[in-house]
């Protein structure tokens, strides 16, 4: 980056809190950018699965952002994507082993989706669009913001789907026995319904804000 560009960047540099809120809310990867839909729809059938998947992705996001940002001057442009994938895949493998060591059942529930974090576009897009151009600190905050934005979004979907589809939250029954579960909510179709419902709320809120 030239010094001129650096100066501009410094002048307009958003604060750390801003950077964090950006990922969590303003540019939320699921509700605003609408990327990373595959794990979002597939593993959000219960609050526990959603949270585990979200945290695993957030960890990989932060770690890969930090490593890619610290190596940004060392990685030649021509092989950057290959290198990013290599770094991301390493952290995914680490997460995979760690989840297996925490609970075999959880690992079975998340199944192939853990390995698929490697090709999660949220992570690769943050590496390419942010970490490769910014300092380590900023990239870490960006990763945290986007990561928690993803956790938040998955949790929004997972909790609604589990409450309506199973009458429970984190496995604890919250409705009386007589509650008739909406089985469709834990099936794939329920994922689409819930996502549409949350997108509606988010866009409604955004439009309202834009008008005022």
């Amino acid at each position: 980056m030239s010094t001129e560009l650096k100066n501009i960047a410094l002048k307009d540099a958003p604060s750390s809190t801003d950077e964090f809120i950006k990922g969590l809310w303003r540019e939320n990867p699921v509700f605003v950018q609408v990327i990373g839909m595959c794990p979002t729809l597939a593993v959000s059938n219960s609050a526990k699965n959603a949270l585990a998947m979200g945290l695993a992705t957030a960890f990989v996001l932060v770690m890969s952002n930090v490593l890619i940002s610290s190596l940004r001057n060392f990685i030649p442009k021509q092989v950057r994507i290959a290198t990013y994938i290599l770094i991301i895949a390493t952290f995914v493998t680490m997460v995979d082993y760690s989840i297996q060591a925490i609970s075999v059942d959880l690992h079975k529930n998340l199944g192939a989706f853990i390995s698929l974090i490697v090709v999660n576009c949220i992570i690769l897009s943050r590496a390419e669009a942010f970490a490769s151009k910014n300092t380590v600190g900023k990239s870490a905050i960006d990763g945290l913001g986007m990561g928690f934005g993803f956790v938040f979004a998955l949790f929004c979907l997972g909790s609604v789907r589990e409450i309506l589809g199973n009458g429970s939250l984190f496995g604890f029954m919250i409705f009386p026995e007589s509650f008739q579960e909406w089985i469709v909510m834990i099936l794939p179709a329920g994922g689409f319904f819930t996502l549409a419902f949350w997108l509606l709320i988010f866009n409604h809120y955004k439009l309202k804000k834009a008008k005022s």
């Binding site: 190596l71 290599l86 770094i87 493998t93 760690s98 297996q100 199944g111 192939a112």
Partner: protein, 235 residues
């Protein structure tokens, strides 16, 4: 952004390639080390949890049992009681009811699925000469398609009384277990597949077919050697 630089041929390209190589190899080595450390760090606990999960799975594939015992297959084809620590040996798990009567034997088997190696456990009841239960231990099959082998009720129903009857000399399975297309099951030794999970469900049929054809005659011939309470009274 600065203007894209044009790379002049000659030494600069060589330098460029060298830099690329160094970067890729360097990062590759660091990544490999990270993975190895994580693997070594989690290996013990993962093995322990897997053993626990296997123990629970034995109860799932052998209905009505309250105790289990582990046996290993020796190179000369004999089953002896084992502590189950050496996972490289062929292990089978006998299940007993409250009266210490043998209810069945759970057998581990594996084979190529659609995405990766599938590891399964199935329960064999020597009294009725049928397979009485089936459970997927490890699978990376496509979510929503291949992973139906774990959930599809119609498919799982295949493994309630799947015939593995032996010939009169107890040396071979008369009709090897074979996979067939959905809706074409006619005989009790056929595994009806799943539409939309064709490869995965065929793989299960084949894995059980191969495994049962070799191990079930051995088990049946020596079924008396399983007929006692497991040496570990806590189990």
């Amino acid at each position: 952004m600065s203007e894209p630089k044009t790379i002049s041929p000659g030494t600069q390209t060589n330098d460029g390639s060298k830099k690329m190589l160094v970067a890729m190899v360097g990062i590759g080595v660091v990544c490999a080390l990270l993975i190895v450390f994580t693997y070594e760090g989690t290996f013990g606990r993962i093995e322990m949890l897997k053993a626990e999960a296997l123990e629970q799975a034995v109860f799932k594939v052998l209905p009505g049992i309250t105790k289990t015992g582990i046996f290993e297959l020796t190179p000369d084809g004999k089953f002896i009681s084992s502590d189950g620590k050496d996972r490289t040996k062929t292990l089978v798990y006998a299940g007993y009811d409250d009266q210490n009567t043998l209810k069945g034997i759970a057998i581990e088997a594996s084979g190529q699925g659609y995405a990766d190696i599938l590891k399964i456990l199935y329960g064999y009841d020597p009294a009725s000469q049928t397979i009485v239960g089936f459970y997927v231990l490890e699978s990376k099959e496509t979510p929503g398609l291949g992973d139906k082998i774990e959930k599809d009720e119609n498919f799982l129903f295949n493994f309630k009384g799947l015939s593995v009857a032996l010939s009169e000399d107890f040396k071979t399975v008369i009709n090897k277990v074979v996979p067939v297309k959905f809706g074409t099951k006619e005989n009790p030794w056929e595994v009806e597949g799943i539409t939309g999970a064709t490869i995965s469900s065929r793989a299960i049929g084949n894995i059980i077919g191969e495994s049962s054809a070799t191990i079930i005659p051995l088990i049946y011939q020596q079924k008396e050697s399983f007929e006692f309470a497991p040496n570990d009274p806590t189990k």
